[in-house]
Amino acid sequence: MSSSMALRDLQRDLESKANDLAKIQKDIAKDHQLRKKYTIQLGENELVLKELDLLEEEANVYKLIGPVLVKQDLAEANANVRKRIEYISAELKRVDASIHDNEGQQNSKREAVRTSLSQII
């Protein structure tokens, strides 16, 4: 009786550890999606900055805000794009750190699942 109860406890433990592992893997997948999105945005903004840098001082810059094309100051547009690039780079670094942490946790959870499994078997 006590051995079957102990077995059930071990199985429940294994299940909960496996669930933890699955959750971490889902988080890692979500972080990878986010990272992809940020990388694309960063690339696009850097392209825009390059084009803006090629412009001369008096050239006209317009920004599409909704259905309206608004004339912008070249310096202001430059500043805006630079700020966006800074923000996206910071977010990208944050996501990378999160992925790194989660991968470490994933490995330790995997080990925990393995030890749980070996206890049952």
Binding site: L52, A59, Y62, L64, V81
Partner: protein, 152 residues
């Protein structure tokens, strides 16, 4: 050739399950790369047609009668104003006014950039494809070996 035979040695050492997983992974990556290559080709085609339209526009004299699209099915008669200035969409909602020359130059630059990206991706795809094919062949060989061992 030396590189592929040492890679082959690695593949031979792996178990059937590992080989299958590796092949599936490589196939997935090949598909992703193919999709990216297709996207680049589409974008390039759009840029080329934009460059063609620009060239055409530069030939038209100012004041020429034209039809301006208001919606996909509604056109309004108008006259062509100065064809020397063009608005270029550079991304993230920004447009810059450029001369016809600069506009054509912009299109050409983007086309060149995409072409070089395409070539880089193509090389990566070729390498991944050869890995996937090698894995597939080694896998088939092993499966056949296993079948021969179990039946004899």
């Amino acid at each position: 050739m030396a590189a592929s035979s040492s890679a082959r040695g690695e593949l031979e050492k792996m178990g059937i399950d590992q080989l299958k997983a590796l092949k599936e992974q490589a196939d997935l990556e090949v598909n992703l790369l193919q999709d990216s290559l297709n996207n680049i080709r589409t974008a390039n085609a759009r840029l080329e047609s934009a460059a063609g339209a620009l060239n055409d526009l530069s030939l038209r004299p100012q004041g020429k009668k034209m039809l301006v699209p208001l919606t996909a099915s509604l056109y309004v008669p108008g006259t062509l104003d100065e064809a020397d200035k063009v608005l270029v969409d550079i991304g993230t909602g920004y447009f810059i006014e450029k001369t016809m020359e600069d506009g054509k130059d912009y299109c050409q630059r983007k086309i060149n950039l995409l072409k070089s990206n395409y070539e880089q991706l193509f090389e990566v795809l070729a390498k991944k494809k050869s890995v996937a094919d090698e894995a597939g062949m080694v896998l088939q060989g092993k499966v056949r070996q296993l079948q021969a061992a179990t039946t004899s």
